[in-house]
Symmetry: C2
Subunit: 140 residues, 2 copies
DNA sequence: TATTGTTATACTCTATAACTATA
DNA sequence: TATAGTTATAGAGTATAACAATA
């Protein structure tokens, strides 16, 4: 049974993502962070406070887990909790100055394309970019 | 500062992978498996015994963790440990009949391309496939 | 009453170090 | 001595359920 282009492309993408997962785990560990912590810090916008529940949504986990995650980041002086002024049930999380530095490193690290991408021809990179623009538009 | 095609493509790929991570976590949870368990079962070949250390390598974790992971899969009747005949230090892991059924479901589920891929034109899918063939070759 | 975040609990993942049995 | 796997331990992620404060 012949595989469709979609299935074949998907298989190659899986391999690519698995390899990338290895790179990610390694890089994140070097920064002394767990994967969820790295995801959270990457998502946090220095210019916009993020709520606990928003982090839970991003991390795709139960809200109860975010309490401990932010506790640990707060204990390390990376972030701080702030009370929301309009709704006092809500707590927001913001960076400390040290946290901002760490975030810069995380973002720089995650924004660096892997060898599989940088090794492609400029033309392939451009085509890849355009295809994924269409893919994102389709899925949304 | 203008972003390069590689950086731009990488950013889109990252979003794609995050969305895929959500799909994966959801699907795996529905099968009653943890992500590492799913990775392990997907990697295991029904026709070829896999060693504990090979699983540790695939999961990108310390070998000591594989003991507990396989313990739990074994307790659920999904896999069985076998002693290697040539080197009695080595243990291999094989599927039980029930495990084989579960593996079929996992593989079928993971092989299913996401909407972002199936929604692309046949031409885009073909181009994507070819680009990732070159990307994989380059990285290796 | 409903929502946000926390606490309590139990289970899994993870790394490190020490151990065993084999080689 | 070296290697494969295990055990012991500690810390972190995860879900569920119950709870407090606020809306």
């Amino acid at each position: 049974m012949k595989k469709s282009p979609a299935q074949e492309a998907w298989r190659l993408l899986w391999d690519f993502m698995l390899e990338n997962r290895r790179r990610f785990l390694h890089a994140v560990a070097e920064l002394g962070l767990s994967p969820p912590q790295a995801f959270a810090l990457r998502h946090m916008d220095p210019d916009r406070p993020v709520t606990m529940s928003e982090l839970a949504d991003v991390l795709f986990c139960d809200a109860s887990n975010v309490t401990g995650l932010v506790d640990r980041l707060e204990a390390r002086g990376i972030v701080e909790r702030r009370a929301d002024e309009r709704d006092r049930r809500v707590k927001t999380v913001v960076f400390t100055p040290e946290g901002l530095e760490l975030r810069e490193r995380i973002v720089a690290l995650m924004n660096e394309p892997p060898p599989a991408i940088t090794g492609l021809s400029r033309k392939d990179q451009q085509a890849l970019l355009e295809i994924f623009e269409r893919a994102t538009a389709t899925a949304a």
